[in-house]
């Protein structure tokens, strides 16, 4: 299993996508609805990569963007937000009708179970068998029989419905903070993050803040993306905008309304993407464009106020074996006396 042990993996989103994403790869978002890695989504779209296969737990705008740009052609999906009734045709509907996109329908739980099985290296995982009466299980999408199966309970119970384990080629993930090695710390709603991140063979991580490893080590329970799986660290303030990120900002309702006003009209969607994705080169450019267009007040209005978690105390005495005078409390002797003791007892050998 390829692992990533460099101490400093910082790079731009464009470089991360160029180096670690191939046409035709499968991928998953290790965020769901909240704190979405939209900066990375825009980088991926700008890269022009094609033929990707997305496992989508649940989302608001990213799937429509990836379809409209022609980035993905396969989608295993549990939930995707839709605006409007029968009279409108959102990008997802249109792409399916035009044959540009194949879809596999899953539930939130079964899709996440696929990730969890993959993360653990298991070929399959039991899910809740009552669902076998639904078309989600009965009707096959493009994954065919590589989704669900029935297995005999070796302990004599009724048959067990299982899902196949999947290991996407990569995950895109946004977190509040990370060190340069890529230990990504996330808090708030945890949804799918752990299992999606651990299922993927590599994680492209964007972070609001880059912090010292010492900060990471003081709160190890917050690390959701362990550095050995992270191939790239993309410093990305406002990297989840217009979705919200606990501790940093709210969702941007006004900006989202502007986007959704045009989402069902291909020309308006193209104009939006030309302006906000193709018209800028990175998240910094996107933010500059935002400030020029709307002013700083809009961003100030959605900035988070603190609700500090009381820090967990990981402390011990941290007393070393030998104190600053070279004295050991356990042995009640100094290091010199200790070496003399070993010599007297005849256990020291000539070097």
């Amino acid at each position: 299993m390829e692992k990533f042990m460099e101490r400093d993996k910082r790079m731009s989103g464009a470089e991360a996508i160029a180096r670690f994403v191939n046409d035709g790869d499968s991928f998953v978002f290790a965020n769901c609805l909240t704190g979405m890695p939209l900066g990375l989504v825009h980088d991926l779209i700008r890269s022009g990569k094609k033929g990707l296969f997305l496992f989508q737990q649940g989302g608001i705008e990213e799937v429509d963007l990836l379809i409209s740009s022609g980035t993905i052609d396969r989608l295993a999906v549990a939930y995707n937000f839709r605006l409007g009734g029968k009279r409108v045709t959102p990008p997802l509907d249109r792409a399916m009708k035009e044959g540009r996109l194949q879809v596999e329908e899953l539930t939130n739980f079964t899709l996440l179970a696929m990730m969890k099985a993959g993360a653990m290296g298991y070929p399959f995982l039991p899910v809740l068998g009552g669902m076998r009466v639904t078309d989600v299980i009965r009707k096959q999408g493009f994954l065919g029989d590589r989704c669900f199966a029935e297995v005999k309970d070796p302990f004599g119970g009724p048959d067990v419905l299982v899902v196949k384990g999947y290991r996407p080629d990569f995950a895109l993930m946004h977190v509040q903070r990370a060190d340069t090695a890529g230990n990504g710390q996330l808090w708030g709603a945890m949804i799918n993050s752990k299992w999606a991140a651990l299922a993927a063979d590599r994680i492209i991580l964007s972070a609001e803040e880059i912090v010292d490893t010492e900060v990471i080590m003081s709160a190890p329970h917050l690390t959701i993306a362990p550095a050995h799986k992270v191939c790239a660290v993309v410093p990305s303030p406002w990297g989840a905008h217009p979705s919200e990120l606990a501790g940093f900002y709210d969702y941007d309702m006004v900006f989202r309304a502007l986007y959704f006003a045009g989402v069902n009209d291909p020309d308006a969607m193209k104009a939006w993407m030309d302006e906000w994705i193709y018209g800028v080169s990175d998240r910094k450019g996107y933010l500059e464009h935002y400030l020029r267009k709307f002013g700083r007040e809009r961003l100030e209005a959605i900035k988070a106020r603190p609700l500090k978690s009381v820090p967990a105390d990981y402390g011990f005495s941290f007393a070393p074996n030998w104190d600053e005078r070279g004295y050991s409390e356990n042995f009640d002797m100094t290091l010199d006396e200790f070496i003399r003791f070993m010599d007297e007892r005849g256990i020291l050998r000539e070097g």
């Binding site: 299993m1 042990m5 690390t223 990981y314 074996n321 356990n330 042995f331 002797m333 007892r345 000539e350």
Partner: protein, 275 residues
């Protein structure tokens, strides 16, 4: 003339050489932990120490008492749990090296850490399997250290798979292709495993140890490498790192207990040389 060292310090030093930079290393406690720390402080600063309890990236300044002891480190980089370790780290194939201490070991590198004697009528119950079976089964390499244990013809109880019955039997049993025990380090020398037969053979001797001394500890006709390596000695700096990190390992189990006992008696009698 170099610095004076103890046998246990030599094992720690030799075990540290089994870790390469940038590797993920599973360690419990004791001698292997000292080896891991020595490696990180010398030739392998980017190696990552993983413990079974779910602490990844610990940076210990003393030997942990057990696998979940966080008093030995000022934090760690990734806190998960034991289930995560065995699935998302071990089973997914991220572990380069696992270190295990040996109770009994046979010629194919299988271990017993459960019973000495017939399990139905045993002489001694050992600590038990712990994490050893899955670590040895699914890590790319396993390094064994033996200071108090024994090398036997047949295990009293098969706790942990090495190369099983030799040849390809380990892989036929479902363990990852190419994985397996790589080295056994004892107080006498260093053993490796034949590429084809997977039988353990003597690859090196510690300085001052004779071939006969080693053979006397092995109950089968031991195969010996054409050229035996003589274990290099640690430098003054390396010995200092080991003594700073783990004086109780340097001095060995017996004398360590003696020192602690003496300390306890002093405390009980209200004496303290420091005061």
């Amino acid at each position: 003339m170099g610095v004076k060292y103890t046998w246990d310090e030599l094992i720690v030093y030799r075990a540290a050489q089994e870790i390469r930079d940038g590797e993920i290393v599973v360690i419990g406690q004791g001698i292997p932990m000292a080896a891991g720390v020595l490696a990180r402080k010398t030739h392998a600063p980017n190696s990552l120490i993983v413990t079974e309890a779910g602490m990844v990236g610990i940076d210990p300044f003393k030997v942990p008492l057990h696998i979940a002891d966080t008093s030995c480190t000022r934090g760690y980089s990734y806190g998960c749990d034991m289930f995560d370790i065995f699935t998302t780290v071990v089973h997914r194939g991220y572990v380069d090296v696992a270190f295990l201490g040996v109770g009994q070991i046979d010629k194919y590198g299988n271990l017993n850490s459960s019973y000495i004697g017939d399990p139905n009528d045993y002489e001694m119950r050992l600590a038990g399997a712990g994490g050893a079976p899955e670590f040895a089964g699914y890590s790319q390499r396993t390094v064994y250290t033996l200071s108090g244990g024994e090398i036997v013809e047949k295990l009293d109880y098969f706790t942990t798979p090495g190369y099983v019955d030799g040849g390809n039997s380990r892989y036929e049993a479902g363990m990852p292709e190419g994985s397996g025990p790589s080295t056994l380090i004892t107080t006498k020398g260093v053993f490796k495993f034949d590429r084809e037969t997977k039988e353990m053979y003597l690859a090196g001797l510690h300085p001052g140890v004779s071939l006969e001394e080693v053979k006397a500890q092995v109950p089968w006709e031991l195969k010996v490498a054409e050229t035996l390596e003589i274990t290099e000695l640690p430098s003054e700096e390396e010995v200092a790192i080991i003594r700073d990190f783990s004086p109780e390992l340097s001095v060995g189990r017996k004398l360590s207990i003696e020192l602690i006992t003496r300390r306890v008696l002093n405390v009980l009698s209200g004496r303290n040389t420091e005061a």
